[in-house]
Amino acid sequence: MKRVGFGVLLCTWLYGVPFLLIVGLIRRTSSPYLPTRAAAEGFGTTTDTILSTALLLNLALPVVGTLLAGLVGDREWTRRFLWSLAGVALIYVAVSIAGSAATAPLVGHTPSDEEPAPRITQCIPISGGRGCPGG
């Protein structure tokens, strides 16, 4: 029972984190069709949630596993989870390389939308600056 729990924890980290990272990075690098500003913000927020969840789980799962295995006194699983911390570092390095290749921040980026820019309907003249047509 104990071993199964640790195995599930390790497998969740091993496959779950790369899964979320790939999904998030595909969304982040795509050019989706977003008709409104709100849709673009919604899409960006979901992408951010996926990416930050992946980055958080990447650290949390192995650390929790190491602590739990240490608490229970399972040396074999403690060793395995300690080794997985090397994988954690590798994933962070890979993500930071991907992040440095992008021009905008990896998390907290809103994709462009198709909403037309609001038309200027009112002209306010500025003295010494700009005049208004017909005024």
Binding site: C11, L14, Y15, P18, L20, I26, F43, W83
Partner: protein, 116 residues
């Protein structure tokens, strides 16, 4: 720790499972990621295969990528067997085998493509 005792070897079956898990994870992640991206409703769908639903994409992928995947699995077997002799961890072996097999398959594909 084991000193001069015989070095532990990774289990071949477990390593293979880890490698297969990587393939499944990456394929599933790409499909899920692509399915979540909204596409414009007024695209030009005149060209063949230009507008496909995710379901149709999966079918086309299976037809095209099926042989590639089979080749990848065949390459994975000896790579895993080879790595399992040196690395004692099944997880590391499976991960490296999946990576190495993809690299090997890409190299074979490029050679085949260039040789034609």
């Amino acid at each position: 720790m084991d000193g001069v005792k015989t070095r532990r070897r990774a289990s071949f079956g477990l390593s293979l499972l880890v490698a297969l898990g990587w393939y499944a994870t990456v394929i599933a992640a790409v499909l899920v990621g692509r399915a979540g991206i909204p596409v414009a409703p007024d695209r030009d769908c005149a060209a063949v295969f230009s507008c496909m639903t995710p379901g149709q994409e999966v079918i086309l992928l299976m037809i095209i990528a099926g042989p590639v995947l089979v080749a990848l699995l065949i390459i994975t077997l000896p790579v895993t067997a080879l790595l399992a002799r040196w690395v004692s961890s099944s997880i590391v072996t499976g991960t490296l085998a999946a990576l190495g097999s993809v690299v090997a398959a890409a190299a074979v594909g490029m050679l085949w493509h260039g040789g034609r």
